[in-house]
């Protein structure tokens, strides 16, 4: 499994003091962040995941074991989860809170970049824009039904062109001619690219055109005429791509900031919110420890036959033991 260690200052920060853990399980990657009592990031890890959220979390925890001392697990005072699988992961690791990516991103970003007004977030399957004022969210939007312009689309195209996604920025920088590619729809964008390739345009120009199309698509379909005030922060996996960042700068006409922790910002936010919650309510964390990675969980599903809605009920069970979580029903008969 591909992993990136963004920060590891656990050794320097000593062996005592409270820590808070944040987990962000997205569609293509799992992010883990540990912060200390002063909200500083002491450990951050990103890993690409392909399995179910349960597997991804467990694998990430397994990898953690190598970089962490045993006592770290005992010093964790609160755990927060975020991402689309937040409730599932919360049930599995025994987290204290599960919050949406939107609020987590906002909390963490306004800590690292006080005064930030706009957060652009492009992840694997989701696009979001968050507008803030004086440290609180005033508005937000998400892509609704279309995945055009998300990280997965870029990934797919990189594969098609035979270029590693990490090199996209370098390639685009070498572009000399402006190539226009339709960004409204993934399918049309792809046929546009094929066409341009056959016309004899270079890969570099096509990649630059693609990045600009993605930025345009994002601004039209997600931001939809919202007023984007600077300072603007750019986050999520796609922020690693310098060509997209440049395309945004060109379209918006202002500086786009990418913080060095942009990959784990959501997880950091989850940890911060967990810290707040635990401190405010004097909670004792229900964290089950990093050894959760060794427990075997079985996700299962069935169709409830109670009424004509035929809800799909999903649940997670320990191999030997009880059901950890169950949801998916409209009426509340099964929810645990």
């Amino acid at each position: 499994m591909e992993t990136k260690l963004l920060e590891n200052r656990l050794k320097e920060s000593g062996s005592s003091g409270n820590l808070y853990l944040g987990i962000d399980v997205g569609s293509v990657s799992t992010k883990i962040a540990i912060i200390n009592e002063d909200r500083e990031l002491v450990f951050g890890m990103w890993s690409r995941s392909q399995g179910s959220p349960v597997q991804s979390t467990q694998e990430s925890f397994g990898n953690l074991g190598e970089s962490l001392d045993d006592d770290v697990g005992c010093r964790i005072m609160g755990v927060g989860t975020t991402g689309s699988a937040r409730y599932l992961v919360k049930a599995i690791v025994g987290a204290d809170i599960a919050k949406t990516e939107i609020i987590c991103q906002a909390v963490a970003t306004s800590f690292y970049m006080p005064g930030v007004r706009t957060i652009l977030e492009i992840g694997g399957q989701d696009n979001k824009v968050i507008l803030m004022k004086d440290g609180i969210i005033t508005d937000f939007a998400m892509n609704s039904i279309c995945a055009a312009g998300t990280g997965s689309f870029l990934d797919h195209q990189a594969n098609r062109l035979g270029i590693p996604i990490e090199k996209f920025g370098d390639y685009a920088a070498k572009s000399e001619v402006d190539v226009v590619i339709a960004g409204r729809c993934t399918v049309f964008a792809e046929s546009d690219m094929v066409h341009k390739q056959q016309m004899g345009h270079s890969k570099e120009d096509i990649i630059a055109g693609l990045c600009e199309a993605l930025a345009r698509n994002y601004l039209n379909n997600v931001c939809k005429g919202k007023k984007l005030n600077s300072p603007i922060a750019f986050q999520g996996g796609v922020a690693a791509n310098s060509a997209i960042r440049k395309a945004f700068q060109k379209e918006l006409g202002c500086e786009i900031n990418v913080h060095k922790y942009f990959l784990v910002m959501g997880a950091v936010g989850a940890a911060m919110l967990a810290r707040e919650q635990v401190r405010a309510e004097n909670l004792k964390t229900s964290f089950r420890g990093f050894k959760v990675s060794e427990t075997k969980f079985i996700p299962k599903a069935f169709n409830c036959q109670g009424c004509n809605n035929r809800c799909e009920i999903t649940y997670v069970q320990e191999l030997v033991g009880e059901i950890v979580a169950r949801w998916g029903d409209r009426c509340g008969k099964w929810t645990l």
Binding site: S84, K99, T100, E101, I102, I103, I136, I137, T138, D139, F140, M142, S144, I145, G225, K226, K227, C307, N308, N309, R310, C311, R330, C331, G332, T335
Partner: protein
């Protein structure tokens, strides 16, 4: 089914079925109440609806097919000569059903102006007997209908107010079900008059927690079918309630019927509000759906008293999208400062996305309110 009585079906819209049931039964017909709207029914509705039509059309046609399969031959569908395509639904639906081979007659309940008493002809025609309904009886039927709608409105209001405080999840929903059953069973004025008290008691019985956490007050409004039917809006009201919001319904069928009988003065006021904001883009006339009044409500509520404004509509609903764009502009330009949330519904079942939006929205409102309370 008793001998000689005609079996009549009608669309299932939210919690309003007891009122319609009594309307047709009192007129002398037998009422068939379609089951609660559900995913299976919708699948069937999708199969026989035009692709670009809105969700209410798809759900109602599913109701009709269910009824027809049970032997119903007469269906009553509302119609309007308003500016949106809803006015043609009954005709198109009849054609679709006939093409499918059903022997069906869709009678149209013209709601454009209830004071023309066209509905009296409709009630007469479903009676199955030539014996005319007396004027006294007609007014009595209408009265019962009104009283039931009013009680349903009350129950829905209390439901929204009670849910964020409930200790055990689901109790409020159960209380609502009990109230609807009582409303359905009551048949006379006297019984209905007594119900008001019983409904309040029913919700008072729900065990409530203290008020230590911040409870938000949110308005739920928008296109009437989607706003009122909890299947169509994927239980938005319940979800908001469980996230700690008192949900105030901006719309009810009682409200709408009163409006069509020209006795809804609150709506007149909302119209005035929208009209008087002409300079910033307020609508000047009814463009269909609820757009005209939604704008009025947004202006009205922005003057205080609420934290959030949730606007729901079926995907492809022209009037509501117009209202949405106007409200978005007002909010972005800083003319009003209640954050709106817009939710368009169609057949998709993407619940995770809806939950993320609702959670983020309530978090947004909560931080805003906390800041207001703490004064910094």
């Amino acid at each position: 089914m008793s001998e000689g009585k005609r079996l009549v079906a009608f669309p299932h819209m939210g919690n309003n079925w007891p009122a319609f049931k009594s309307l047709f039964e009192n007129a002398g017909a037998e009422a068939y109440v379609p089951g609660k709207n559900n995913a299976r029914g919708l699948e069937c509705g999708l199969k026989f609806s035009p692709e670009w039509i809105c969700l209410p059309f798809k759900i109602t046609i599913a109701n009709f097919i269910e009824a027809l399969d049970k032997g119903v031959k007469t269906i009553v569908m509302a119609s309007d000569c308003g500016p949106c395509r809803f006015g043609f639904y009954h005709a198109v639906q009849e054609k679709i059903l006939k093409d499918l081979g059903y022997d069906v007659e869709i009678k149209c309940l013209l709601q454009a102006d209830l004071l023309t008493f066209e509905w009296a002809d409709l009630l007469q025609s479903i009676r199955g007997t030539r014996l005319p309904l007396s004027r006294f009886k007609l007014l009595w039927i209408a009265r019962i209908f009104f009283m039931k709608l009013q009680l349903i409105q009350l129950a829905e209001k209390l439901e929204g107010k009670t849910r964020p405080y409930e200790v055990r999840r689901g109790e409020t929903t159960k209380a609502l079900e009990r109230c609807l059953k009582m409303i359905d069973e009551a048949g006379t004025h006297q019984q209905l008059r007594g119900l008001k008290h019983l409904i309040k008691e029913e919700f008072a019985k729900v065990e409530k927690a203290g008020r230590e956490k911040i409870i938000l007050k949110v308005v739920l409004t928008g296109e009437i079918f989607v706003a009122l039917d909890c299947f169509a809006n994927q239980d938005v009201k319940k979800k908001l309630g469980e996230l700690g919001c008192e949900v105030c319904m901006g719309i009810s069928l009682y409200d709408w019927v009163k409006h069509k009988a020209h006795v809804n003065f609150h709506r007149k006021y909302l119209e005035y509000l929208s009209k008087s904001h002409r300079d910033i883009g307020g609508l000047q006339l009814d463009i269909g759906g609820e757009a005209f009044w939604v704008l009025g409500q947004y202006i009205d509520f922005s003057r205080g008293g609420i934290d959030g404004f949730v606007h729901v509509y079926p995907f492809t609903c022209m009037p509501e999208i117009t209202a949405k764009s106007i409200i978005t502009k007002w909010y972005n330009d800083g003319i009003f400062d209640v954050p709106p949330l817009f939710l368009g519904f169609d057949e998709h079942a993407g619940e995770a996305g809806l939950m993320t939006r609702l959670e983020a929205y309530t978090d947004l409102l909560r931080t805003k309110k906390k800041k207001l309370i703490n004064g910094n």
